[in-house]
Amino acid sequence: MWDYTDKVMELFYNPKNQGLLEDDREPGIAVVFGEVGSIACGDALRLHLKIEVNSDKILDSRFQTFGCTSAIASSSALTELIKGLTLDEALKVTNKEIADFLGGLPEAKMHCSVMGQEALEAAIYKYRGIPLAVHEEDEGALVCSCFGISESKIRRVIR
């Protein structure tokens, strides 16, 4: 049984900013999304941003998450944290800040918050036209090695 904080539970049961952002082609406004993970990995996040082009500010943000309780809560937390920030400021948001916003995450679940950071990076890089650096396959701390599942591409970004 995971020991989730009340904040995690609250954002899981009543997530803020779920869904997607339509691009209304408003002048001076850009809408992009970034994606990480896949259904094969067992977790995935699509993060949508509405950006004010002149100021580089994030006006709004929405998420769609396939994943566990903490992935959903982390995604929701991230959208809250980055609203109003400039893109450069948002890029500095760490997964630790996401976890702190949630009042902490169980150690084995810290990686669920990394996904948010990565999706944000993906969205901003896409907006800026920068190719995304390929992430090393990070083995991380194995939680269970008994079935030797290392051949699968399950993401293991821990802490």
């Binding site: 995971w2 989730y4 539970m9 899981f12 049961y13 997530p15 779920q18 869904g19 994606e35 896949s38 259904i39 094969a40 067992g42 977790d43 995935a44 996040l45 699509r46 998420f63 769609q64 998450t65 396939f66 994943g67 566990c68 309780t69 992935a71 959903i72 084995a108 939680v143 269970c144 008994c146 079935f147 599942i149 399950i154």
Partner: protein, 392 residues
């Protein structure tokens, strides 16, 4: 106190109040050691004997064939080690990819100790292939260890058909029947099984007690070595209250087996059928063929895959309504990996991560099933609305 609609009976069960009552005197007045030389201890020896008969009766065995253990895991470990020690020259083991970790991890360890292990595959229905079994057997095969019924899907293996092939090769046949005992009738007298594991807390006895059936004539070496308890086959002061409890639980299961099983099956079928009807994009994992459910499943278990969403999120949502279910087995539920059983069945990724097991007991009521049926569609809909894959 926090109660719940408990549909996680393959993880553990409620102890029958009659069982608690039966064991209580042995937690208080009758605390003697059955091996003691005084009649205060000796009187306790008698109830241990009675409990042994009760457990034997449930599986159609002789009471001399029953060894009390502390849990299913101990039974599995002891059986596998004993079978290998009895035939030190043979170095090959056959098992399946979908065993419980209590068998699978022992086999993994044995591979590092010079044993070769064949892990039989299962098909999309969770069933093994008897031809693959036959092809894997050699004169070097010491042991075939295959579960009676799978804890995650409830799929039942054709144990006696397997046993016939095992006997052709003179191997020892161990069956992990932890999920089968008390749910389907067993009769060791007419069986090919040599060693059979059961665990109390899966059949309304408490945790901390189990039993291992060892067919008369099968050589046995103890896993726990020490005093002469259990006729030298399991050392350690007897867990008298646990033994009495297991005996009583066995007696109750035997008396009600047919009736409770039928009722559970009806409830399970209704739960399963209605979920499939009211929720789009979901399917039963295990024992389905050409879209039709077949008959090789435990009466109390259903494992359903809900596409595009993740199991833990479903479990926590159910938890909010006081409903207890599970994904994977309890001992793997802390891990982040998808179930090895469902993976071995080749489930597509879309459902692999979103599969939930409901396991009923004789305490499950119609009203409880109704509650689950009432809340599940909303839970699935809400989580799917959050998912990026739903509309792909």
């Amino acid at each position: 106190m926090q109660t719940c609609i408990y549909l996680d009976n393959n993880a553990t069960t409620r102890v029958d109040p009659e069982v608690v009552e039966a064991m209580l005197p042995y937690l208080s007045e009758y605390y003697g050691n059955p091996s003691s030389m005084h009649s205060f201890g000796g009187q306790v020896g008698k109830v241990v004997k009675q409990a042994r008969q009760q457990v034997a009766a449930l599986i159609g065995a002789d009471d001399s064939e029953i060894i009390f253990t502390s849990c299913g895991t101990e039974g599995d470990n002891a059986a596998i080690r004993a079978a290998l020690q009895a035939q030190p020259d043979k170095r090959h083991i056959v098992t399946t990819q979908v065993e419980h970790p209590a068998v699978l991890n022992v086999c993994k360890q044995l591979e590092t100790q010079g044993y070769t292990v064949t892990y039989l595959s299962v098909n999309r229905q969770g069933q093994i292939d008897l031809d693959e079994l036959a092809a894997s057997m050699t004169g070097n095969t010491a042991l075939v260890t295959i579960m009676y019924a799978n804890n995650e899907t409830g799929v039942v293996f054709p144990i006696e058909q397997i046993g016939l092939r095992v006997k052709e090769y003179g191997a020892i046949f161990h069956v992990d029947a932890v999920q089968a005992v008390g749910k389907i009738p067993l009769n060791m007298k007419t069986s090919t099984v040599d060693l059979l594991t059961l665990s109390g807390h899966k059949l309304h006895a408490p945790k901390g007690i189990g039993a291992l059936y060892v067919r008369r004539g099968v050589r046995f070496r103890p896993l726990l070595v020490g005093g002469h308890q259990e006729r030298g086959r399991r050392a350690g002061t007897e867990n008298v209250p646990g033994i009495v409890a297991l005996g009583k639980a066995a007696e109750i299961e035997l008396a009600h087996l047919a009736a409770t099983t039928n009722k559970q099956k009806q409830l399970r079928d209704r739960l399963e059928k209605t979920l499939l009807e009211t929720i789009p994009n979901c399917e039963v994992n295990g024992d389905v063929f050409d879209g039709k459910l077949r008959k090789n499943r435990l009466p109390n278990t259903t494992n359903i895959g809900f596409k595009y969403i993740e199991g833990e999120a479903i479990l926590l949502s159910l938890n909010q309504f006081g409903i207890c279910a599970s994904s994977g087995s309890a001992c793997t539920s802390g891990s982040l990996e998808p179930s090895h059983v469902l993976r071995s069945m080749g489930l597509p990724y879309t459902t692999l991560h979103g599969s939930i097991r409901f396991s009923l007991s004789r305490y499950t009521t119609d009203a409880e099933v109704d509650t689950v049926l009432a809340v599940m569609p909303g839970i699935i809909e809400r989580l799917r609305a959050l998912s990026p894959f739903n509309n792909d």
